[in-house]
């Protein structure tokens, strides 16, 4: 126990400030300001790997580390789409995952935000569309924010999530 506590004390607090939201990542604007006022930043996220190479998942995992400390911002990954406000989806969407992704989307309550992650989630990436790949996430479910990169850095993924829960006007007011 002493060793554990000693190690915790030795490391201290390593969390860094969160990035700003980024309007350039927005695909569509669906979020009402009234909803945002209720939601604030207490956001729950369900991650769905719809066919990725698992590279994006590695950087999404990093959001939970003490440096990015996503829970410190009030944002939490949850185990069921029924508990989620936002789906964080990596792609390309494989045709074998198409039904599962649609069902996950249907099971998610409003506001049902969707952030597409990575080059493949945004465009189909290097895999493109073929007999087994349906390509970008927006080909299968509506997308609010899309963040490219292979894989995108944790800061960029976090900026994309924050963009999804910021309306342009709220952002202006916040200045």
């Amino acid at each position: 126990m002493w060793k554990t506590l000693h190690q915790i004390a030795r490391v201290g607090i390593v969390s860094e400030p969160a990035p700003e939201s980024d309007e350039a990542l927005r695909v569509r604007s669906a979020l009402q300001e009234q909803i945002l006022a209720i939601l604030g930043r207490a956001l729950t996220v369900r991650q769905v790997d719809a066919g990725s190479c698992n590279g994006c998942e590695l950087e999404i995992h990093a959001l939970n580390n003490p440096v990015y400390n996503i829970e410190g911002l009030g944002i939490r990954f949850v185990a069921s789409p029924r508990h989620a406000d936002l789906l964080l989806v990596t792609g390309p969407v494989s045709r074998n995952m198409e039904i599962a992704l649609k069902r996950t989307y249907d099971a998610t309550p409003d506001p049902k935000l969707v952030v597409a992650v990575g080059d493949c989630g945004c465009t189909g990436g290097i895999f493109g569309e073929n007999y087994a790949s349906a390509g970008r996430v927006a080909n299968v479910i509506p997308v609010d924010v899309a963040v490219d990169g292979c894989p995108p850095s944790p800061q960029r993924i976090l900026a994309a999530i924050l963009t999804a829960i910021t309306t342009p006007r709220a952002r202006e007011r916040g200045r």
Binding site: K3, Q7, V11, V48, S52, C53, N64, N65, S94, A100
Partner: protein, 509 residues
């Protein structure tokens, strides 16, 4: 002379990784060869089929040789003799080969493996580049799971969408109370047509797709691809490039073990481990970004060398970070070892005895935790591993605790290798020009962090990729996980699963 020796003597060397040889066998000799190699201690590394010309290939490692058996299949309607009774790992590979090429084995289990509802049974992905004639189904297909019957037995279906941040797959548990009687996996959900895609891109761009077969093994796959390609290009890799590739491969091993050692602590209810190791991993990734230009080295290994030559100072900083990492990891290892609760979860969970591991063909670090000592860096070394004397990690208990111990040992050894590589880094170019590849088949073979990664590359007459088969060690290890969970309780599955941490994407292709 032993029969396997005579086989190897009659074979011819294949370009690419040193020690790889190929031999054409007749239908009658195919099973005989597989049996002879098995009797000599051989292990199946991969089995795949080509649609044009129709053929089946089995890559079997016997000591310091990888022998690729090639069987022509003149009549696709007549199944070729299956070898799953000799090498159980072949079973799913044979089913996948049938899905991709229409070439079937005589094996009794003829259920589709990678093909779900997405494309019709008569569509052969590697036989045509046109889209399937019919639209994909909109309903999930019915898959014939093996049913377990009896008093109090019930099923728990899990997935394809899992509860954590992980890849999709389906697990069907048959349980009594909390105890697992049987687990049946169903994979293929992230099948995205990688093998067909390879045939649509230029040979000199193939390393980018190879790196994305399984993102966590990007260096292993892109190196194996480049090794095969360079074998056909007849270009001599600059020494510095080879050493930098090994630096990247060990860096990838360190990153993955750091991530998993934290996640394993977390799965045992010890969140401290996750916080500590994920911080260490973040520091390591930032050091890689500073030295090699990328956090994850998806575009570092390129044909002819590597993408960036790190400065002397950057390498020194990387070594410094590696030493710090090893130091803190050793401290946390003591904490794990002395923590009653963690030991209680790790010890005896998900055991795979050495005999079972050998029979099923368990590979990689998981194999080394169950007494299977093969490590390509030691058994079939090429530059710079031939000069590095990699120390083998080995345990025989085969449980979660053993896999954790092997990971800790390999983490420490990789840090030592990073130091040794930087200390002995040759000067010179970090990359060379690569000409157009000649027609032919070459094999790339690299011991990735998870186990042996193989690329079989065939280049056609005009320098285009005719066929490329990437093989991830998860193919061998997924079926073993079904055995590891038997008799354990359902709540231990995430922990046992994480101790192997197998790739879905690398397997589903």
């Amino acid at each position: 002379m032993a029969p396997h020796r005579s086989l190897i003597d009659r074979s011819t060397p294949l370009p690419g990784c040193p020690g790889v040889r190929g031999i054409e066998v007749t239908r009658d000799a195919w099973r005989r060869a597989a049996l002879d190699l098995a009797a000599a201690g051989g292990r199946l590394l991969s089995l795949w089929a080509d649609a044009q010309p129709a053929s089946v290939h089995a890559a079997i490692q016997c000591d310091a040789t990888l022998l690729v058996l090639r069987l022509s299949v003149p009549d696709v309607a007549t199944p070729y003799p299956g070898i799953a009774d000799i090498y159980p790992a072949a079973q799913r590979m044979q089913r996948a080969a049938a899905d991709m090429t229409g070439i079937r084995s005589t094996d009794a289990d003829a259920r589709p493996w990678l093909r779900h509802a997405a494309w019709p049974v008569d569509h052969v992905p590697l036989g045509s580049t046109t889209a399937p004639a019919r639209a994909p189904q909109t309903e999930a297909d019915a898959y014939a799971f093996v049913r377990v019957a009896g008093d109090g037995v019930h099923e728990i279906p899990v997935g394809p969408v899992h509860a954590g941040i992980i890849e999709p797959g389906h697990f069907r548990f048959s349980v009594v109370g909390e105890k697992v009687l049987k687990l049946e996996e169903r994979l293929g959900y992230v099948h995205k047509g990688i093998e067909q895609r390879f045939t649509q891109i230029a040979a000199l761009d193939g390393h980018r797709l190879a790196a994305r077969v399984s993102g966590d093994s990007a260096v292993a796959f892109s190196w194996a691809y480049c090794q095969a390609l360079e074998g056909l290009c007849n270009s001599a890799l600059p020494q510095r490039a080879a050493w930098l590739r090994a630096l990247a491969l060990e860096a990838e091993r360190i990153a993955n073990h750091l991530g998993d050692l934290g996640a394993l602590g977390n799965d045992a209810g010890f969140a401290f481990g996750l916080a500590q190791f994920s911080r260490l991993k973040e520091s390591w990734l930032r050091a890689l970004q500073a030295a090699l230009g990328q956090r994850y080295l998806l575009d570092y290994v390129v044909p002819g060398g590597v993408a960036r030559d790190p400065t002397h100072d950057a390498l020194a900083a990387l070594v410094e970070c590696a030493r710090d990492t090893a130091h803190v990891a050793a401290r946390i290892r003591t904490i794990y070892d002395e923590h009653e609760g963690v030991r209680d979860r790790f010890v005896a969970a998900g055991s795979v005895a050495p005999e079972l591991a050998k029979q099923l063909g368990l590979v990689g670090f998981a194999g080394r935790a169950s007494g299977q000592e093969q490590d390509l860096r030691i058994d079939m070394p090429f530059l710079p591993y031939s000069e590095l004397q990699v120390k083998r990690a080995l345990r025989t208990e085969g449980d979660v605790a053993a896999r954790v111990a092997v990971r800790f040992d390999e983490l420490a050894e990789s840090v030592r290798l990073v130091e040794a590589i930087v200390a002995r880094m040759p000067s010179g170019d970090h990359a060379c020009e690569v000409g157009a590849p000649a027609a032919g088949t070459a094999i790339g073979l690299v011991e990735g962090w998870r186990g042996p990664v193989m690329i079989a590359l065939t280049v056609g007459a005009h320098g285009a990729i005719q066929r490329c088969h990437p093989h991830d060690p998860s193919w061998q290890n997924w079926p073993v996980l079904e055995h590891a969970i038997i008799g354990n309780i359902v709540p231990d599955f995430p922990l046992i699963n994480k101790s192997f941490n197998l790739s879905y994407s690398g397997h589903d292709l």
